[in-house]
């Protein structure tokens, strides 16, 4: 198929089917968003694991061991909670941004690779922040990768929809 006709067909079908499984870009978003959702939920379990390991609980009713009191400043628990909060600050807005970016019919190759890089960057971020703390700038680089990708998607969507301000 010639480039031109492919483009025309792309345009015709586009708006009707972008948020369906017929759109490979949407499927790619689905897969990597799912990976990130699972990664985020594992942070909850990791926090719970650290709480039991170091016997640090924030509520009276959680004191599963004798002779302990509620405690809030354990560094091992707080590190995981900071990593989890950073996930919420960055990944949750990314989910919405990437979804609406798909709905603007982006270049499939660019979009799919952005989804892959963003998801892997956040997995690296968790590894170097919560699991195996390593010297900077590894965490800053992993953090900046998804941030810049989200800004890029924001720029694309904002330019496409600017006249609806």
């Amino acid at each position: 198929m010639s480039n031109t006709s492919a483009h025309t067909m792309h345009d015709k079908l586009a708006n009707m089917e972008l948020l369906t499984l017929d759109n490979p870009v949407f499927c790619c978003y689905l897969f990597w968003a799912t990976v990130l959702v699972v990664k985020m939920l594992l942070m909850s379990l990791l926090t719970a694991l650290q709480r039991f390991r170091y016997k640090v609980f924030p509520n009276e009713e959680d004191l599963f061991f004798k002779n302990i009191e509620v405690q809030f400043d354990d560094p091992h628990v707080e590190r995981v909670r900071r990593a989890h909060r950073n996930d919420m600050e960055n990944i949750l807005p990314y989910f919405i941004m990437a979804l609406i970016y798909v709905s603007t019919n982006p270049n499939p190759l660019v979009a799919c690779n952005l989804f892959r890089v963003a998801a892997i960057a956040r997995i690296v971020h968790t590894l170097v922040y919560a699991l195996f703390p390593v010297p900077q700038p590894s965490r800053i680089l992993a953090f900046a990768t998804m941030l810049l990708i989200t800004f890029y998607m924001a720029a694309v969507v904002a330019l496409r929809t600017l006249r609806f301000i």
Copy 2:
């Protein structure tokens, strides 16, 4: 209508109309997602209520009463804030996960019941965490219910979209 023809029709219409009001599963998602959004926003108001009740404010400009200072460690306020943070950690990823789960055309009966159970579990979680603290494992069970439902949806979506990795 026979089971087979219903299934065929289901498949034909599916990808075009999944994220519309024509799809009862999507409508069910809309209703229960709305319930959870309202529940989450009420946590903000509950925090504000506790702040006024115990006169605990985090900013200089919020000191609505005489002779008080900014304060951060009131147990009644912090309990509500922990419950609210737990909501954000679990419900917000669930919103995205459930939405993209709808877009993969799940079994209507399974999907609708998952939405119902997940929403009610989180309402129970709020009751036993923020409003009427009760002994464990009530909170852990309520927490685990939505977590497992989200993992199940993630597994379904990941298997459907694995080849777009």
Copy 3:
């Protein structure tokens, strides 16, 4: 075109094309959601800026200057983090609520103006909370604006989908 026929056409096309660029209401949502995503991500950068300005870092590996220790209670940093947390508590549920509100085919004029007012209210909230602290009730008003808009959207969606409970 007469009002009646416009309405009929509106109804016919509606469910198929609501979440596409053919729907001006969706485009308006895209634009203002993008603005809010960018605003939220800038809070991360503002926190980082405050951390470098006041040399307050939460992790051992972040101590970019000599002779400093990890520190958690700097008022300038904590103010920005509270504003950021408030964003997450309010804007992230709003993203989902507004998206599913669009899918219920709302009145275009009402919907677009709600998106505009909500986004501008949250920008004002950030200005009066994180950047230039001013006396109350400016922050409460900015906060209440998006909250009430989200509740309104929730009421509309819940009434439309109540029979799918």
